[in-house]
Symmetry: C2
Subunit: 369 residues, 2 copies
C-alpha cells in the first residue's frame, strides 16, 4: 500500500515544482498505477484526482466503488449515470474552483468533451499535460512491481509449455488458442494481455497474423505469442516450435533468431541505449543473411500496459536504467515459408539483466508418435 | 456501396446548413458507418475526412490501407508512425487551412492532444460537434443494415441452440463459453459482440456476472447472453434454461419475465416512446410481485455498436421511428437464488415490429438422461 502513497507523493512533488493545482489522471493504466485499482469504465468517467492541497481520491462509476474501495489505497467516490462526474469531482474537492488555476490532465486520453466540462467548472484555468511525468515514473519498476511481473512471466512460461503439448496434426490454430486461454484462466490469470497467437506454417511468417482455421501439418513451424495479466501487470512471451521434423532452412533461421535474442539480452545493463539493444539483435540476423526479414523493432516496454515505454527501436537513444522492463523479440519472417520469433521479458538490474521468462529456447521438435 | 455515398451526402447536407467546412469522424463505429471499414487503430489516428468542398476520404495507419481500400467506398490514405497524421490530413485536403473556419469533430471521442494538433494546423478555426448528427443518422437503419442485422440475429439463435446442447452436470460455465465462441467462429462470426455470458445457479442472479468455475448442477437456472458480429453489425440475445427440473418458484419468475418480454414487444410501433416500452415490461413484472428484482432498463439500441441509441429506459421520451433497432430484455434476479432474463432484438417497422431473434421462449428444461 505504501507503494501507492509513494507514487502519489512523487506526483505531488512534481505539481509543487510546476505550480499545478490539480491533477486528473484518467487512463486505466495510470489510475491503476496510482490507486491499485484497474477498471475499464468505457464511456463513463474514472479518475484519480490529486489536489496540490488536500487528499487524493478516486472517482468512478458507483457500481465499481466497493471493488475499488477494497484496495484501501485512497478514498473512493462514486458517481451515478445521472450525475455530471465533473460536478461530483468539484464537490469532493472541498476547494474553491477559482483556486484551480493550473490543471494537469492526460492529453492523449482525455476527450474534448471532458475538457469542455472542466473549462465550464473551473473557469480561467490553464491545462498542462501530466503524461510525461507519469510515463517517467512508470519507467523504473519498484520491487513490488518486479515481484508481480516475475509471477506473470512464470505463468506465461507455463502457458507456452501447455500450448506446445497441445500440438497434433490436423488440430486448428484457434482450437489451441482456446485451450491455452482456458488453461491460463485455470492457473489464475486475470485475463490475457492480448489476443493469443498460434500461427502455423506460412501463417507464422505474418508478424501480426490472426489465428484461424489452418490445420497443423508435419513440417510446420508453429509460433506461440501470448501474455498473462497477473495483479494488473503483463507478461509477453513468444516461442516457435517445429512439428515432427525441421528442415535445414528452418533450423537456420531458428538458430539466427536464437543467437539474436541472446546477443540482445547480453547487451542489457544500465547506461546502454535502447537503440544498442536493437542493433545487437539486428546485426546477428543481418550477418546470417536475413536482414530483410526482421521487419520490426526488437521489443517494447512492458508493465501495466502490454506496450509501454521504452520503445526498443533502432532510433531510440533513451538510456536504460535499473528497473526498466521490456521485451526482446527478434524474428525472421520468410513470406510463404514460415517465421520464427523468440521473445523474452527482461528487467534491467543495477549491473545487468534479469530474464523473467524462462521457457527453454533450444529448437523443440514436437514428437508426433 | 451507394448506401455509404448516401450517408456521406446526408452529412454533407448538414455541413452546408450549419456552415461546417470540414468534418473529422474518428470513432470506429462512425468510421464504419460512413466508409464500410471497421478498424481499431488503438492510439493511432483513423478518420473519415469530409470537406464541404471536395471528395471525402479515409485516413488511417498505413498497415490497414489495403484492407480499407478493398471496401471501395472512398479514397484511402495511409500514414506511417513517423508522420503526423494531422499533417497528412492537411496535405490530402488540397485546400487552404485558412478556409477551414468551422471544423466538426466527435467531442466525446477526439482527445485533447488531437484537438491541439488541429488547432496548430488550422489556426483560428472553431470546433462544432458532429456526434448528434451522426447519432441521428444511425438511429433509423436502412434496408442494407436491416438485412445484415437479420443474419446476425439468426447466428445468435444458432449459438444459443448450440449452448443449450452443451449443458451437462459438472460442466463449468467458462467451458461452455469457450465452446460457444468456437462454434460462432466456425459459423462465420467476425467476432463476438461482447464477452459471452453463461451463468449458472446463484450466478444467474448477477446482471453483470462473469462466467467462471461454477459447475452446472441439476436444478440450476442457466442464463446465456451472447452476441454475434456479422458484417460489422451486432446481435444480442439472452435465453435462460432449467437443468433437469424446474421448481415452482423458478417457473413463476420465468413466466413473469416471458410475459414482460411479450408485453413490451407488443407495444413496439412508430409513435410510441421508449419509456412506454420499458413501462409495459415493468408493469407485468411488478404485477407478478417481482418489481424490486428488475433492476435495469428494458433494453438498448443495437447496430454497429452493441449499446447505441435509443436507450430503452423509463425516462426516455424519445419517439420510436421506423428502422430503429433495439433489444427487449426484462429480467428478474433473486439474490442467492437465481435469475431469468429473456432478450430479443427487434426492429420498428412502418406499422409495428419485427422480432429479429427467433429462438423459442417457452421454458426449456434440459434433459439430463
Amino acid at each position: 500500500m505504501n507503494y501507492y502513497r509513494e507514487r502519489v507523493a512523487k506526483l505531488a512533488a512534481w505539481m509543487e515544482e510546476t505550480h499545478v493545482d490539480l491533477t486528473i489522471v484518467t487512463s486505466p493504466g495510470n489510475v491503476m498505477y496510482l490507486s491499485g485499482f484497474y477498471g475499464n469504465p468505457h464511456e463513463r468517467f474514472m479518475g484519480v484526482i490529486v489536489p496540490r492541497q488536500g487528499e487524493p481520491f478516486l472517482l468512478l462509476p458507483a457500481l465499481d466503488r466497493d471493488k475499488a474501495a477494497g484496495k484501501g489505497t485512497m478514498p473512493v467516490y462514486g458517481h451515478s449515470d445521472t450525475d455530471q462526474p465533473i460536478d461530483v469531482l468539484r464537490q469532493a474537492l472541498e476547494l474553491k474552483a477559482e483556486d484551480m488555476q493550473k490543471i494537469a490532465i492526460e492529453k492523449t486520453h482525455l476527450t474534448v468533451s471532458r475538457l469542455e466540462q472542466l473549462e465550464a467548472d473551473f473557469p480561467g484555468a490553464v491545462y498542462a499535460n501530466a503524461e510525461d511525468r507519469l510515463l517517467t515514473m512508470r519507467l523504473q519498476k519498484d520491487p513490488h512491481e518486479i515481484a508481480i511481473m516475475r509471477r506473470a512471466a512464470k505463468l506465461a512460461d507455463e502457458a507456452v509449455r501447455f500450448a506446445a503439448a497441445q500440438i497434433s496434426v490436423g488440430r486448428r490454430e484457434y482450437e489451441i488458442v482456446q485451450a491455452v486461454e482456458s488453461f491460463a484462466r485455470q492457473q489464475g490469470a486475470e485475463r490475457m494481455a492480448f489476443e493469443t497467437m498460434v500461427l502455423a506454417g506460412e501463417n507464422s511468417a505474418l508478424p501480426h497474423g490472426v489465428p484461424g482455421m489452418r490445420e497443423i501439418r508435419r513440417g510446420d513451424l508453429v509460433l506461440f505469442d501470448l501474455g498473462i495479466v497477473w495483479e494488473g501487470y503483463c507478461s509477453d512471451i513468444t516461442r516457435t516450435v517445429a512439428v515432427g521434423e525441421a528442415s535445414d532452412a528452418q533450423r537456420q533461421i531458428y538458430e539466427a533468431v536464437r543467437a539474436a535474442n541472446q546477443a540482445a539480452i547480453e547487451q542489457v545493463r544500465p547506461g546502454v541505449t535502447a537503440a544498442e539493444i536493437d542493433r545487437a539483435a539486428r546485426e546477428v540476423i543481418a550477418d546470417a543473411g536475413y536482414g530483410d526479414y526482421f521487419s520490426h523493432r526488437v521489443g517494447h516496454g512492458l508493465g501495466i500496459d502490454v506496450h509501454e515505454a521504452p520503445s526498443m527501436h533502432g532510433q531510440n537513444g533513451q538510456i536504460l536504467l535499473p528497473g526498466m522492463t521490456f521485451t526482446i523479440e527478434p524474428g525472421i519472417y520468410l513470406p510463404g515459408v514460415g517465421g520464427v520469433r523468440i521473445e523474452d521479458d527482461v528487467r534491467v538490474t543495477d549491473s545487468g539483466v534479469e530474464v523473467l521468462t524462462g521457457y527453454p529456447k533450444e529448437l523443440q521438435i514436437i514428437d508426433l508418435a
